[in-house]
Structure formats: structure tokens, C-alpha cells
């Protein structure tokens, strides 16, 4: 979002379809991921996020459609591609009794390019004091950080992160988000999947909403909200008897609902809040409570699919 340069796609997906038996996991999925952005594929569990991502990573072959990553065909040139990308898989495990340093050392030996310094990477990810620990004895957050280290070990051009923070506590989650922002700052492209709308909102420059194997819309989180959920709501409380009449006079509002001392004012667009504040100050209405309810990606999802992402 901060860049003004013309977007250059590093991932191009066009009309892919993947079925497992009679189940259509992914259908007619097309999107592009631009150089240097964090792109999120968001949707509920089972929507086709992982299948799509694994096709792009070259570990699954779509039945139809074309994919290009860094100019390569992911399935046909999978080893060439693997050398240039970093991958974190959903719910992956390692050998129970492999040590942290052995894992990093093994991974470092697998790639041609190896400019990322393994020890420094462990240090940056807060794993330096765990380098001799067995994988099975790491906490969930430590395991995820190790998988991030493995995804970064070859100094990749594109990093794939599949459900990165699932199962982590909020604190560990925030720490991981910081790491992902750091990846972008080093000029890498990040392609991630998540079913957490907050994660998508805080991390992603652009998101694609996927539902039942199909992409419904793609844009920045802000523009998706503006496009699909322009409603704004102001909730306030006042004992001023003249208030209700004044609120109804605000231009372009949809409704004013009163419940005892509390008013719920609905309208369209960002101007609503300004108009309400203007009205309060002009009429010198004293309020004891003032809240805005601003829609987010979760509401967008609900609006587009008719059900909550948590269902």
C-alpha cells in the first residue's frame, strides 16, 4: 500500500480447478500476487485455501488452469521453484527428536542459494537458546517460529505461509505478525492464507475472499469494506430531550433507533460520523457515551456469503 511503483505480478493463477473424487475443492480460481506485497487468501476452513496454495507451491497439480510463479511452471519445474521460494505448511511436523540446529543445518544444505545466515535467523526468531532442544519439546509458538526460519533459510523471493498462527495464543500471534511484516520490509513477497479476519486486516495489503472453492472478490481490506459494507453506525447516549429530533434532521441517514437514553444512528459512508459530531456540537447536546461501529472484513464475509466465517 505504501508503494507507488507499478505492480509487477510474481504469481499468476488463471482458472485453476482441483477435484478430489466427487468433491470440487477449487474451481475457476484466478488471481495475481504482486512483487513486495503481503497477499492473503481468506476464507473458512475447507474453502480451498490450502489446496490453492499447494498448487501454487508445486506440490499439487491442478486438474485445469495455469499457474506461473517467478516465471516458472510450479509443477513442471518444482525443484527450480523450490530453490527460490520458502514454504510453511499448515500443521506440519518434524521428526520428534530432531534438534533445532540440526533442522536448520539440514535445510540450509538443501538449497543452492544460502545467503540467509542460519544462526542469525535463529537469533532473530528468538530460538537461539533453543538450538539444542528437540522439536517435540518446543511450544506451539516456537515450532511456528522454527517453520518460519525454515521458510526463510534460502533467502527466498516469495514466502508462502499457510494458516500461520492457528492454535497460537494472542501474544504469540502478535509476535508472528511482526515477523511477517519484517519479511515484507526485506523486499519479499508474502502469500498467506488465514481464516482469521483480524489477521488479514492487520497484515495483508490485498486479500482474496474464497468460499467453497471460488474466489468472490479481491481487493485491499479497506476497499472491500467500503464496497460491500458502506453502512456506518453511531451509538450514543444522551438525556437531552431535543436530541432525537435533531438526529433525524441529519442529512443522508438511514435510521435512528431510540432505546431509553441510547440512540443508534445508521447511515452510509464515512461522512456519517462527521455529520453526527457536527450535529452534537451545533446543538450543544451533551452525551455520556459515544461509539462507532465500523464494519470489518468479517462483516464483508457475512454480507458476501450469507454466513459467518466462524461457522
Amino acid at each position: 500500500m505504501t508503494t507507488a511503483r507499478t505492480p509487477r505480478p510474481v504469481i499468476q493463477v488463471s482458472g485453476i480447478r482441483k477435484t478430489y473424487g466427487a468433491t470440487v475443492a477449487v474451481d475457476e480460481v484466478s488471481f495475481e500476487v504482486n512483487d513486495g506485497e503481503i497477499f492473503g487468501l481468506i476464507g473458512p476452513n475447507g474453502a480451498g485455501k490450502t489446496t490453492t496454495m499447494e498448487c501454487v507451491e508445486g506440490i499439487r497439480k491442478p486438474d485445469r488452469g495455469t499457474i506461473s510463479v517467478l516465471g516458472l511452471d510450479p509443477f513442471g519445474q518444482v525443484y527450480k521453484l523450490q530453490d527460490r521460494i520458502g514454504v510453511q505448511l499448515q500443521q506440519a511436523q518434524l521428526q520428534k527428536r530432531i534438534k533445532v540446529w540440526e533442522t536448520v543445518d539440514l535445510w540450509a544444505s538443501l538449497y543452492k542459494k544460502n545467503s540467509a545466515d542460519a544462526e542469525r535467523l535463529l537469533d532473530q526468531l528468538g530460538l537461539a537458546d533453543k538450538r539444542d532442544a528437540w522439536f517435540m519439546n518446543l511450544s506451539g509458538g516456537q515450532k511456528q517460529r522454527l517453520f518460519i526460519a525454515l521458510a526463510l533459510i534460502n533467502d527466498p523471493e516469495v514466502v508462502f505461509l499457510d494458516e500461520l498462527t492457528t492454535g497460537l495464543d494472542p501474544q504469540a500471534r502478535r509476535a508472528i505478525w511482526e515477523l511477517v511484516r519484517g519479511i515484507r520490509e526485506r523486499g519479499k513477497t508474502v502469500f498467506l492464507t488465514t481464516h482469521l479476519m483480524e489477521e488479514a486486516e492487520r497484515l495483508c495489503d490485498r486479500v482474496a475472499i474464497i468460499e467453497r472453492g471460488r474466489i468472490i472478490d479481491i481487493d485491499t481490506p479497506q476497499r472491500l469494506v467500503d464496497r460491500h459494507c458502506p453502512e456506518r453506525i453511531v451509538v450514543l447516549a444522551t438525556s437531552d430531550p431535543a436530541a432525537e429530533e435533531r438526529f433525524r434532521a441529519i442529512p443522508r441517514i438511514d435510521s435512528v433507533v431510540r432505546s431509553d437514553l441510547q440512540f443508534t444512528i445508521r447511515g452510509q459512508g464515512d461522512d456519517l460520523v462527521t455529520e453526527v459530531i457536527h450535529c452534537l456540537s451545533e446543538s450543544r447536546i451533551r452525551v455520556t457515551d459515544f461509539r462507532m461501529i465500523v464494519p470489518n472484513l468479517e462483516d464483508v464475509f457475512l454480507k458476501l456469503t450469507g454466513h459467518s466465517i466462524r461457522d
Partner: protein, 249 residues
Amino acid sequence: MLRGLWKLTWIEIKVFMREPLGAFGTVGFPVLVFLVIGRVAGRNLPAPSLATSSFLRVSLPVLAALLIAVSSVISLITIISIYREGGILKRLRATPLRPRTILTAHVIVKLALTAATLALMVLAGKRYYPIGMHVRWLGFTIALLISTLSVLSIGFLIASIVPTARFAQPIGAAILYPMIAVSGLFTPINSMPPVVRAVARVLPMTYAVSLLEGIWKGDAWPAHLVDVAALATVFFACTALSAKVFRWE
């Protein structure tokens, strides 16, 4: 292109040695069976007949060697199914590692383990076995490694059909141990019922027993070319088939 093979192999050896029961279950158990049965059989018969002495001299060492091979193979089946279930195989595949490199590393680990266990058996046998161990053991080691490789290729097929890691060990055991029973080690192939005989003829264990017994007794290799050819055929057939049916996740 086998980049990463030696590092991966060495890590797999270390990881295996860290298993609490890994080393004993695979290395110690066959040696223990060999020594205990040897002592019991040696003690109960103060004047060994020709039959017992042939049992102590040939059959028991060959049985112990086969147990070594089979426990290596069962260990392979178990590890592969655990790795598949845990997504470890998939994680290793999402790197420039070639699939065959990942599997070759496991084969090397199991062959090394087999050789090490055999060495331990020979060493322990020289000291504690009632009739001692007098064998050309370089030849015998090679014979055992050929046999193990052949059975390992069946192990990969079994690892492909095992539904979950929980069933890996019992299914592996249920397939492999009966193969020993009809291998001709206990009953000569020719005195078996025709149906069993036909089954025995297509199982690699039968040729492994023939090869191991022969080499143990001092036969020259040319006398066992048929056995080696049969074991090689099984290896190439199962490897080709595994390449088609092996499941990575």
C-alpha cells in the same frame, strides 16, 4: 541429484538412536533372542544329536539374521507411516529434496542398522554362543544386506497400504513373520503342502533363507545366483510398484 542425502541420513540415524526403545527394540532384541534360545537349546541337550547341532549351527543364526532384517523392515514401515501421518514427509518434499533422496536415506539407515546388529550378534556369539561362531562373515553380511534390501522394498509397499501409523507395526508383523514361517527354515520346502509350497516359492524370504543358509555353511556365491536373482527381481518389482502407489500424505 542427491543433495542433502548424507546429512539427512545422518540426522535420521541420530533421531533413531534418541528413541527410547529404538535402539533396543531393533538392535538388542534379535541378538537377545539368538543368545537365549542358543543357550537353552545348548544346555538341554548335553549330547547334541545331528539335528540339534544343525539347528544350533545353521538354523538359529540364520533365523536371528532374518529377525534382524525383519525388525529393520518393520521399523521402516512404522517410521514411514508416522512421518506420513505427521506431515513430515510432506514437509520434506516442499524443499528441493528429491522424493527418492528422502526414501534412500531411510534405506541406508536401515541397512546400516542391520549391519551393526549383525556385528553385535557375531561379537556376542563368539563369547556367549554355545558352539561359537565360525563364519565368513563378510560374505554373510553381504548376503544379509541383499536380503534386507529385498524385504525393505516390500516394506515400502506395506507402508503404502497401512492406513494409519497405529496399524503400521501390527500389519507389518502380520505380513512379514509368516513369511519366515514358510521360508523353509523350519520345514523343508519340499515337504510342505503344494499350496504353501507355491506361496513360499514367490516370497523373497524363501530365497533369503536359502542364500543365508548356504553362505553360512560355506557355499560359494555361484551356487546361489538363483537366490540373488530372485531377491533382485523382488527388489526391482517392488521398487517400481512403490514408485506408483507410494502415498506421501
